[in-house]
Symmetry: C2
Subunit: 197 residues, 2 copies
């Protein structure tokens, strides 16, 4: 009964990450208890977001404005740009209040297996930004994976001629992390990068 | 930034059962990758369901039609009515293809602590249905909790004068259930209700 509005809604909701069929059903039932207050505002919010949100023309962040509110913020230090794989990472760094500069969304990682080459990533726009805006430090905040490391190497080579300092995130023991459950690679990296107290 | 359409959408989504803030954020990011294909259909489906779905005037099921498609189905045995606490239970029994009759949604359970009395439940309409339609068996499919048992007792008293047979679901070991992880109450009930092979 695909033309049944309830079944149709459940099947659309259950395609979202984190929602299975079971929880989609529960969510729909809960919303149907109070459609005017629970469903219509959500429908409006979805439509408003779909209509207004687009990638920032400068950094690639998703926002209702372009340039986005970060690129547009006069208190941000434009000499520091933090390179991230995707918008999710940008949002995570913002939640952590980790960075006072601006961002650059790469749009992926180099991956031989995934067939992602340099031309699929936003590298040329990054080079152009660095040259046009006198960026002094490029912080590579890419994931600590094989593809992340490959992309770090590639970007370091490409960005070196600009003269900007190139840094990457520290690797080590996560805050609150117990040593005995950490993987060997992280433990070895943290040991090697130990610091004097 | 509550007037930010992305934050607004995340906060509405994260109020759904089963979705925390983290998964709501992931869901919104995924949808924003393809708004026309992922967000607008969901907005339309929410609006269509809110506009069309209402409680069935006969049984209380939620459906786009009233009487609902179950009450309206000529192949259903109208002499059997299954009483459930809420629509979620009705849907669960339908998925299990457990029942070939019709349903009656009670809308709750008697609860001294929760302050739910008989007048809050759909009991009078149930009595009227039994008398008007010559219902022969009323199956009480209420949860096996204290409130469920209280409601079972109350309904049995109220329905007895109608002359309809009153049954309730069997209690015992769930299919696939290991004995050693079952609670004592279920084990004792299953033991007491043992059947000859």
């Amino acid at each position: 009964m695909q033309n049944d509005p309830i079944e149709h809604l459940i099947s659309l909701l259950s395609r979202l990450p984190g929602l299975g069929r079971r929880s989609a059903r529960r969510a729909v039932l809960k919303m149907l208890m109070d459609p005017a207050d629970k469903m219509l505002p959500l429908a409006d919010a979805l439509r408003a977001a779909a209509d207004s949100v687009r990638p920032c023309e400068v950094c690639g962040n998703l926002d209702a404005a372009s340039p986005c509110h970060i690129c547009d913020d006069p208190h941000r230090d434009r000499r520091l740009v933090c390179v991230v794989e995707g918008v999710a990472d940008l949002w995570a760094l913002e939640r952590a209040h980790a960075h006072r500069g601006t961002y650059h969304v790469l749009g992926g990682l180099l991956s031989a297996l995934g067939g992602t080459g340099p031309e699929d990533l936003s590298v040329t726009p990054l080079l152009r930004r660095i040259e046009a805006n006198g960026i002094e430090e490029v912080i590579l905040a890419l994931p600590a994976t094989v593809d992340g490391a490959t992309t770090n190497h590639y970007l370091t080579d490409r960005l070196k001629p600009t003269g900007a300092a190139i840094t990457r995130l520290a690797q080590g023991v996560p805050i609150g992390g117990a040593l005995d459950v950490l993987d060997d690679g992280t433990l070895a990296a943290a040991f090697k990068a130990r610091r004097a107290l």
